[in-house]
């Protein structure tokens, strides 16, 4: 495992342990995510990948341990340090609202209780839509979007916050191959401009192409490091168990 210098670390988890009800979802995870590059959190279903992201955001109660983001302790008031892109399937896409409105929600964190978004917020929203290439869709109903477009809207919503860290939960789930590669280009651009990009990814296909750094997770941290170092057959078998043979074959292609 490669050691990172402390000033190169964007997110650090120490002994992070999370339980739902009484079942452990994350167990004693010591992980470090570097500032530069794109990091993938990889593991089988139920491995606690989403939970890891949510504990860094401070939106699930942590049983033990600690998370730090850019040197300051994690918690519910991370505010605009982190841009969170939740799973697409967690919201009702038939909700009566427009693309522009959804993206503008990214500015709500800075608004006070009784404040409405104004010109400043609208300008920021326009810029974010432009960045993800959706400026023509502002007035569209969110129910009329394709999976890839929905994902871009969510990304723009996080972009509005001007965060230093992007935490994305399965951004490529249910997205066609073409949209996937154009989405990835946007992420690469964000990363090149200096943002930390972290994403949950549930399979190993193309993992080697996408990620500079990976965490292999199955409740415990199985391995972390550069993609070369961490994605070894031994680690994958430890993480995925018996299925790993077939997954490896797929991963090599």
């Amino acid at each position: 495992m490669s050691e990172l210098d402390s000033h190169d670390v964007a997110i650090r988890c120490e002994n992070l342990t999370v339980t739902y009800g009484a079942e452990p979802v994350l167990w004693n995870v010591d992980a470090e995510i570097p500032r530069r590059g794109i990091t993938g959190i990889i593991g089988p279903n139920g491995a606690g990948k989403s939970t890891l992201i949510k504990s860094v955001l401070g939106i699930v109660p942590v049983t033990a341990g600690d998370t730090q983001v850019l040197g300051s302790h994690g918690g519910p008031l991370q505010g605009d340090t982190i841009g969170y892109v939740p799973q697409r399937s967690t919201v009702d896409w038939d909700f009566p609202t427009s693309v522009f409105d959804v993206v503008m929600m990214g500015t709500y964190g800075k608004l006070r209780w009784f404040q409405r978004p104004g010109k400043l917020q609208r300008d920021e929203t326009h810029r974010a839509l432009e960045f993800v290439g959706m400026e023509a869709f502002g007035k569209r109903q969110i129910s009329e979007l394709s999976g890839g477009q929905q994902q871009r809207v969510f990304l723009a919503r996080a972009f509005v916050q001007e965060p230093s860290v992007y935490l994305m939960d399965e951004p490529f789930a249910g997205v066609d191959a073409k949209s996937e590669s154009s989405l990835f280009e946007i992420l690469r651009k964000l990363s090149d401009e200096g943002a930390t990009v972290v994403m949950v990814h549930h399979d190993l296909i193309r993992a080697r192409d996408y990620f500079d750094y990976v965490l292999l997770l199955n409740r415990r941290l199985i391995a972390q490091g550069t993609t070369e170092d961490a994605l070894t057959p031994a680690n994958l078998e430890k993480c995925y168990g018996l299925e790993s043979d077939s997954i490896l074959i797929e991963a090599k292609h």
């Binding site: 120490e14 002994n15 342990t17 339980t19 009800g21 009484a22 079942e23 452990p24 167990w27 004693n28 049983t63 033990a64 341990g65 600690d66 038939d94 199955n218 409740r219 415990r220 199985i222 430890k238 993480c239 168990g241």
Partner: protein, 367 residues
């Protein structure tokens, strides 16, 4: 037999029929369909009554059951359009149908048997008075016969389709895989539920039907995991609710509807709070114990590599965010359990084989 005995008997049979019917609704996640049906049968009942001007006509039952089926069908068609979600659709349809029934009653049948209150309360008190001659049995209240017949229909259905019902309810994916698509079974079932609602409506009223169909099965659901036991228990709890509610009603001198429903609800509350396996208290207790066990395991892992007890104490109290006293107790307890020991070779804490096994078992994930 005295009128009171007949009333009690009718109440018990109604309760058992509703309990059996409801037990399948509860496991099939259709509990609120009974709330819809118990309201939606009213317009069918009223229309047929206006037409035939008699309560004893079998057409009343047919028309009301049809009215219930129409509600189910319209709700389903509405949610298939995806314009509204199925919960809202159910609510809109049954409220509209019930309103139609109430207005028909208020406009046409003032002071008749169909008083608006009776729709809610039912007519259990009057049920034993409406008798008819039956072969062999002699002069018996009609409700007794209809409710017994209803129960027998449901029971026959459950016995005949027992295996299919179990597959349909507990393993729908397997059922689909082996090509078992219970469309017909579903229709037969919903017709039976609608019929039960109709026959029970005159006796129990809309409140009590829902209460008896859902509360006793819900209690039974928390008490057992075996399907056959669950069915029997649902009926038993429903019958007990009927008996206790009946005497409570006599005590308060009110119609038995509210009391029987309240008793069924109260029994559920008792089960919910106190039953030994699946309740408010039991779940709390189990979670508390399990959490403590997990904390112990985590504590063990945190101690690994520490050079002495002081270092271990700091690590544990720091990471688990607990006071030094509690940390000390934990650290000592783990050592006395022989989960972790200071190794003489390395001079640091190392987990024993027993400790590793205990942690692996509790955490249940790859080490």
């Amino acid at each position: 037999m005295s009128i009171e005995t007949w009333t009690l008997l009718i109440a018990i049979v109604t309760a058992i029929a509703c309990g059996l019917c409801g037990s399948l609704l509860v496991v099939g996640r259709q509990a609120m369909v009974s709330e819809g049906l118990s309201h939606a049968v009213l317009p069918g009942l009223v229309v047929a009554f206006l037409f035939f001007r008699s309560f004893d006509s079998p057409w009343l039952i047919a028309s009301a059951a049809l009215s219930g089926l129409i509600m189910v069908w319209v709700t389903r068609a509405l949610s298939d359009t995806r314009l509204v979600d199925s919960d809202a659709g159910l609510g809109l349809v049954f409220a509209a149908m019930f309103s139609t029934g109430i207005l028909l009653v208020s406009l046409n049948l003032k002071n008749a048997h169909f008083h608006a209150d009776c729709i809610i309360d039912g007519n259990l008190a009057l049920a034993p008075l409406n008798r008819a001659d039956f072969p062999v049995l002699g002069r018996v209240p009609r409700s007794m016969i209809t409710m017994t017949a209803t129960f027998l229909v449901i029971a026959t259905f459950v016995l005949l389709a027992y295996k299919e019902l179990k597959i349909m309810i507990f393993d729908p994916t397997h059922a689909a895989r082996v090509g078992f698509r219970p469309v017909l079974l579903g229709y037969v079932w919903i017709t039976i539920v609608s019929l039960t609602t109709v026959t029970a409506f005159d006796v129990a009223g809309s409140v009590l039907i829902v209460a008896l169909m859902i509360a006793p099965p819900a209690s039974a659901y928390l008490l057992t995991r075996r399907f056959s036991v669950y069915l029997v228990l649902s009926m038993a709890i429903a019958a007990v609710s009927a008996v206790l509610g009946f005497y409570l009603a006599k005590r308060l001198d009110v119609s038995p509807t509210g009391p029987v429903a309240a008793v069924a609800g109260g029994l559920f509350l008792l089960v919910f709070v106190f039953n030994p396996t699946n309740s408010l208290l039991a779940t709390r207790l189990v979670r508390h114990r399990r959490r403590k066990e997990l904390i112990r395991c985590l504590c063990c892992e945190l101690m690994i590599g520490c050079a002495d007890e002081l270092e271990a104490l700091t690590a544990v109290s720091d990471r688990l965010r607990i006071g030094p006293r509690i940390a000390q107790d934990l650290v000592r307890e783990l050592q006395s359990r022989d989960w972790i020991q200071l190794s003489e070779k390395s001079g640091r804490f190392e987990m024993t084989v027993a400790g590793q096994e205990a942690v692996a078992q509790a955490v249940n994930c790859p080490a």
